[in-house]
């Protein structure tokens, strides 16, 4: 390995598990992946915040609020706590506040978008 070459260590994304109400995660949405947890399908989101990456799993409300078309946009997710009025299999719903930037921040990530949008049409 050459001494002149500057190397950076590639670390795996930090996994965020929302525990206490008020926790905030922010960054540019660069990945949405379908995964399997104990045989059940789940969604994993990957955020990039100035080179620091973090991932978190999608809950019902997050999956409803976020869209594949949000790839490349900056998002802010704030965990608000449990909503005991709505539950499934005895598990209360987790409540989140999600904010999305109006403009695309990372065009490369936006290009990975899963569908064709108005931006893709050149006229």
């Amino acid at each position: 390995m050459s001494d002149a070459m500057e190397m950076i260590e590639r670390v795996e994304p930090r996994f965020v598990k929302f525990g206490a109400p008020g926790e905030i995660v922010e960054g540019v949405l660069v990945g949405i992946k379908r995964i399997n947890i104990d045989g059940k399908p789940a969604i994993k989101y990957l955020l990039d915040d100035d080179g620091e990456q973090c991932t978190f799993l999608g809950t019902y409300q997050l999956n409803e609020k976020l869209r594949p078309a949000d790839m490349g946009h900056k998002i802010v997710v704030r965990y608000e706590g449990l909503d005991t009025n709505v539950s499934r299999n005895g598990n209360p719903m987790r409540h989140f506040v999600v904010q999305i930037s109006k403009n695309v921040i990372n065009k490369a990530a936006a290009a990975l978008n899963l569908g064709i949008t108005d931006d893709d049409i050149p006229f």
């Binding site: 059940k40 869209r67 904010q99 930037s101 108005d118 049409i121």
Partner: protein
């Protein structure tokens, strides 16, 4: 809303409520675009996103990405859970048998023994579902068409594999019947939750639904209804309700149409809905009398209208919520006694019903047939599985009526040569589609293609007669001839 790093952010609103299959989502109102004088009309041009990809949520996208394999894995997982619950019920009864025997209670032990045997049979039935497959080869072009496999199902009421197949077949038939409908409407009728369910409850409920349909036969021409049961885990109560997919003689009124009801101007749709609710309430109690027959005297019919308006007026004065600032909110300033009195009146005299025109035909068909797969919601609760199975044993949960009467929807999941197409488009290479049975195969001898079709594995030759040993029928076998006992050759030494 706050700005982060000079970015303009927008708050993403949560859905109004968790969505249900087959129900229409509340459409997000279109933002009003204000155009300045002289501005180009291009700004107001409709979006080119005709497929609504920009509005597709991750949840919807994820659901669309589900493969047949994933669906199969989910069904197997549910089947495993249901199997575990039934196994526990069986083991509990076995334990009771042992305890009764130890205590010398012969009569009780026999009773528990019968229950244990019943649940053991159900467990075996569920366990053996799709363990064997019947192979079919193309008789016309055997060499160029891969042999297909059709599962031998268990037809257990709770089996998710069989239920999914039954549901698919029935949905296909309902969708073809939609062509006969002029004004399809989906009506949901409910009653308050019950702490326990018995078979008689379903019979009683069906009787009331039949009466309701007969009372409105001028309006409801025909259709299909299905009884659905859900279990509330928190309150440990049962909720029996019915979904009626009906063809009605006249379309539901437009949203803007208004009419006068009990001294107040209300939407015509609301008036119809209240009338249906009142008729449903009267079928379950004696407080408001019976509905007047068609040939009743004018005075009797006027009295009927008066009773209905009286019920509407009392309902208005007994309401617990009011419409304020575009939303229903609890009425403030009510005393505890007043609140209790109003709650009691509503519990006794009001029922939740839902009436909506069908716009999504596939969704409506799914809603009606949801009862088939609904049991998965309490699959992990043996204390719920047992009463449910006892209550629905032999109960008819789906029924066609009127113009749809006689159409069979809930068919067995077994292979039926007359409905070969139920297992998908069976097409051979030459197009003649002549199939002949090969034999019975084990689960390990079949495989699923990406589109969900099942085939025999490639190593199995088309002339194979099956891998499952055929049962021997002794009566048909030639009896071995009795050999005359030959004298043992002896020899002197």
């Amino acid at each position: 809303m706050r700005a982060i790093a000079n970015l303009e952010m927008q708050l993403r609103a949560a859905p109004p409520r968790p969505s249900r299959l087959g129900t229409r989502r509340t459409r997000v109102p279109k933002a009003h675009v204000t155009r300045e004088a002289g501005a180009s009309r291009r700004e107001a041009a409709p979006s080119l996103d005709t497929e609504k990809l920009l509005a597709t949520t991750v949840r919807q996208w994820s659901a669309a990405q589900r493969t047949e394999k994933e669906i199969r894995v989910e069904q197997w997982a549910i089947k495993k859970v249901i199997g575990g619950s039934i196994h526990k019920i069986w083991q509990d009864y076995e334990e009771k048998v042992r305890d009764a025997r130890d205590a010398g209670l012969i009569f009780e032990s026999e009773g528990f023994g019968r229950e244990a045997l019943k649940w053991f049979k159900q467990y075996e039935q569920l366990r053996g579902c799709q363990a064997q497959w019947i192979g079919y080869r193309a008789a016309c072009c055997t060499a160029s068409t891969r042999p297909v496999a059709v599962p031998v199902g268990c037809n257990h009421r709770l089996c998710p594999l069989c239920a999914a197949h039954r549901s698919t077949v029935a949905r296909k038939r309902i969708k073809t019947l939609f062509d006969r409908l002029t004004h399809p409407v989906l009506i949901t009728l409910t009653v308050p939750n019950k702490q326990s369910i018995r078979k008689a409850d379903f019979g009683h409920f069906r009787k009331r639904v039949r009466q309701f349909i007969a009372q409105h036969k001028d309006w409801i021409l025909g259709g299909v209804y299905s009884l659905e049961t859900t279990y509330n885990r928190t309150e440990k109560s049962w909720h029996i309700h019915v979904h009626v997919l009906a063809d009605v003689s006249a379309a539901l009124p437009a949203k803007t149409e208004k009419t006068l009801l009990a001294g107040q101007k209300v939407y015509a749709f609301t008036a119809i809905k209240l009338k249906l609710e009142f008729d449903w309430v009267r079928l379950w109690g004696k407080d408001w009398g019976k509905k007047a027959k068609k040939d009743a005297s004018a005075m009797r019919r006027e009295g009927d209208t008066f009773t209905f308006e009286e019920w509407v007026r009392t309902g208005r004065t007994s309401r617990l919520k009011e419409f304020v600032c575009g939303k229903y909110r609890p009425i403030e300033g009510l005393s505890a006694d007043e609140m209790r009195a109003r709650t009691e009146w509503n519990m006794r005299n009001r029922r939740v019903i839902d009436v909506r025109p069908v716009t999504d035909r596939d969704g409506a068909a799914r809603e009606v047939l949801k009862y088939l797969t609904k049991a998965a919601a309490f699959a992990d609760l043996p204390e719920a599985i047992e009463p449910f199975m006892n209550a629905v044993k032999g109960a008819r949960l789906i029924q066609t009526f009127g113009s749809w009467y006689g159409v069979s929807l809930d068919t067995a999941a077994d292979f039926d040569p007359e409905h070969f197409e139920d297992w998908g488009e069976m097409k051979c290479a030459c197009g003649k589609n002549s199939w002949e049975r090969m034999g019975v195969f084990f689960r390990s001898d079949v495989e699923m293609r990406a589109d969900g079709r099942w085939f025999l594995k490639r190593h199995i030759q088309p002339n194979c007669r099956g891998t499952v040993p055929r049962p021997t029928i002794r009566a048909l076998e030639p009896e071995p001839e009795e050999m005359e006992e030959e004298p043992c050759p002896m020899q002197w030494r």
